[in-house]
Symmetry: none
Subunit: 189 residues, 2 copies
DNA sequence: AAAACCTGTTTATTATACTGAACGAGCCCA
DNA sequence: TGGGCTCGTTCAGTATAATAAACAGGTTTT
């Protein structure tokens, strides 16, 4: 985070994703409609208390409000065997953070994926033998690998072979977060 | 978080822990000394931009300032030892579910751990080279491995060598759930 | 077609966050 | 017993966040 957070667009994104009007959010949050409008257009520097009220009105954590804006623009081209293409994401509304300390993880890589409402992450096939293990931390996602499609909710866990094309979709109107452990094929490369 | 955040004491704690004076922090953050004093004593509702400046001046993430416990996160414990064992649990109030389909996971095992309030899971050292990757899905836990102790909250991720004795404790009054990926040492029986 | 009802924006006013400077308390040294 | 230094707090003025009310644009009503 190098600049003061501009949470306006985030708030608006969350609000519209839930089909809430400024009037409704104003009632639910206790923040005036005018102030909401000005905050969403980044015309003011809202008070911490005000931001908290808005987060509460949107039924999200204050962190989520700040985080979705504090998008780590950092791209990364992690290559174990060959180029693994990870989208960078702003246009898709999917944020990927790398957690794994590579010197520790060996052939593992751990990611934290944040999905804005109605967003999808599409992955090309990985090398044969590659597996993915994911855990839903928040919200719900639909994972499709080949023919199979599975709906996962908060707390669910899924392991699958990732050497075919697969997608992770957040079809809901709220944010979804999943952690993913990718295990690359042992004898590859 | 049920009330608007009172970050005054957190800021003061961080500042004094670093032996910074209000003057110094004022210079480093660009926030006036007077305002810092008033914020620390919770006399005002600071602006989000101001809070961000203070976090920057303290070289911490904004989240750390908002969280009730102002502790830097995501450390990694490192060390070595021996022996393996996984407790079973019901008497301790800790439930372990195995998610990993073994034929897929190879040297990986995936668990879902549920902690009742005020419960702790103590593990003997695993084989040398064993690593654990855990993700907090709900609540908060305190992970201790050797000397190092880390407080993890919802959404946090931690990777550490598990070949020394380690404990995962839920010190809060509510349930905690974490997913754990255990990666056994590659060349170990 | 205009009246009534939405939407989000902009105005005018009040409340207050923020600043620079003044203040009092504590410490060190002459 | 001072002066000179620091510390954190409080004062007065200014900048601006927050509010209520008026506003413009677009749909639905009658």
């Amino acid at each position: 985070m190098e600049k003061p957070p501009m949470i306006g667009k985030n708030i608006q994104k969350l609000r519209t994703a839930r089909n809430l009007t400024l009037n409704v959010l104003s009632e639910r949050s206790g923040v005036s409609k005018a102030m909401l409008s000005q905050i969403e257009t980044d015309k003011v520097n809202p008070t911490l208390a005000t931001v908290w009220k808005i987060a509460r009105g949107l039924s999200v954590d204050l962190h989520d409000l700040l985080d979705s804006n504090a998008i780590p623009k950092r791209k990364f081209a992690v290559n174990r065997n060959e180029a693994i293409k990870i989208l960078d994401t702003d246009e898709h509304g999917v944020t990927i953070k790398v957690f794994s300390p590579l010197e520790m993880a060996g052939d593992l890589e751990i990611y934290m994926l944040s999905f804005d409402p109605k967003t999808t992450l599409e992955s090309e096939p990985h090398f044969p033998g590659t597996e993915e293990f994911l855990t839903v931390i928040k919200g719900s996602v639909k994972v499709t690998a080949g023919e199979n499609s599975t709906e996962l909710h908060k707390g669910d866990f899924l392991a699958y072979h990732a050497d075919i094309a697969h997608t992770i979709a957040n079809e809901s109107a709220s944010q979804a977060i999943v952690s993913m452990v990718v295990r690359y094929a042992p004898n590859q490369g």
